[in-house]
């Protein structure tokens, strides 16, 4: 298990925002907020921290007594494992056995107990993550005094993390001049939290949602023709002004372009949102466009080489030469 400094909890949020000069023009400026500067490597640190602090404030959990359990296959599991452990909780993560070995080994290194579900456990509930959700709920339901399931798809603290944190940060970092906010949607926490804050500051700011194609390869995002709308998103999805749907190919092409043009090595969801930013930029005459890059590309070597985005050598070269990578704890 890796050692974690309590100082890490003070480093959640306040991530840098950078101009993507090669995508900007004289009238349209493009900025990205680099969420991989959060201590556990992604935007999900914010939601994980807020959901746990909120549960503590409400008296739902006590340090040293409760176990935090969450079904997830990606960044939320990593964020919860690190943050809950630092706050003094044991963590159990329920994950489909098909999830990547990289992710499982990070979770174990962070001290989480990992339960792997297979599709044959309970065919009534569906496949993949649905099995994991069902098992996590069953474990928590049988022992309500011992287990707490934050449930990022329903928990309003996930919205608040962005309404109170990410939204004000973006407004301040652009001196209140942001005109368009572009974000992918998974739980809907980021887009509704940031979107709501920005609309309250200036109702003319446009909120643009991005979804990947059906049967996509973009971890963390959802296509709403094939996936349910999480209740967290449904509550405030009226704030979305416009939608873009992006193909796998467009996303991966943009991952490569972001490296060649900006020396940024991003995760697949950042490629997806950036492809939508480019389509938007072509349509508007002026503005300040801000998007969120949820995580960097370090966890995705196997995906990128498999999809032909980079060869193994190109990836290693990119990793050494990329700018704005954080000193992540989670180098596999």
């Amino acid at each position: 298990m890796i050692t974690l400094s309590p100082e890490l909890l003070n480093k959640i949020g306040n991530t840098p925002i950078v101009e993507l000069s090669s995508f900007s023009s004289s009238k349209v400026k493009v900025y990205a907020k680099l969420e991989w500067f959060n201590p556990f490597g992604s935007v999900k640190d914010r939601a994980a921290y807020w959901m746990l602090k909120d549960a503590e404030r409400k008296g739902l959990i006590n340090r040293g007594k409760h176990i935090i359990i969450e079904p997830t296959s990606g960044n939320t599991g990593i964020a919860l494992s690190g943050i809950a452990r630092l706050l003094g909780y044991k963590v159990e993560i329920v994950i489909p056995e098909k999830a990547s070995e990289e992710t499982k080994s990070i979770l174990r290194a962070l001290g989480a107990d990992v339960h792997e579900t297979s599709d044959d456990l309970c065919p009534r509930v569906g496949v993949g993550t649905d099995q994991s959700i069902s098992l996590a709920k069953a474990i928590a339901k049988a022992r309500p005094d011992k287990y707490f399931m934050p449930n990022q798809y329903e928990n309003d603290a996930n919205f608040l993390a962005h309404y109170e944190g990410t939204g004000p940060e973006i407004y301040k970092q652009t001196d209140g001049k942001v005109t368009h906010f572009v974000s992918g949607v998974g739980t809907g926490g980021t887009i509704t939290g940031v979107g709501m804050y920005l609309k309250e500051k200036d109702s003319k700011i446009k909120i643009i949602a991005v979804q990947p194609q059906k049967q996509h390869l973009i971890q963390g995002l959802r296509n709403f023709e094939e996936s349910n709308v999480p209740s967290l998103f449904e509550r405030r999805m009226y704030i979305v002004d416009e939608w873009y749907t992006i193909t796998n190919e467009e996303s991966f092409t943009m991952v490569k372009e972001l490296y060649s043009r900006e020396r940024l090595l991003v995760g697949p969801s950042s490629g997806c949102v950036m492809a939508a930013v480019c389509k938007l930029v072509d349509k508007i005459d002026e503005g300040i466009v801000v998007t969120i890059f949820a995580d960097d590309g370090r966890k995705f070597k196997s995906l990128y080489t498999q999809q032909g985005v980079f060869t193994s050598n190109e990836f290693d070269h990119a990793l050494r030469n990329a700018t704005m990578l954080s000193d992540s704890l989670l180098i596999i």
């Binding site: 339960h115 579900t117 297979s118 044959d120 456990l121 309970c122 065919p123 009534r124 509930v125 099995q131 069902s134 098992l135 069953a138 474990i139 339901k141 049988a142």
Partner: protein, 78 residues
Amino acid sequence: MLEEEVKTIDVRGLFCPEPVFRTKVAMERLSIGSILKVIADDPDAEEDIKRWVQKTGHELVSISKDGSNLTFLIRKKK
């Protein structure tokens, strides 16, 4: 009479799919030929555990019912 060592797990009070999950984890820790005894009280467990044992190629030696308690004896085959 069973001559093998029998390992027992009690999953009473647990709901689907946890009884199957606990059975699966316990079976992974047994050696081939050993018997696992599972005591459950979720009515869904009867169908779920039966189906899981059949699908994974183990042997369901017996199921007995006593009130709401269900007791399964499963022999690990592979």
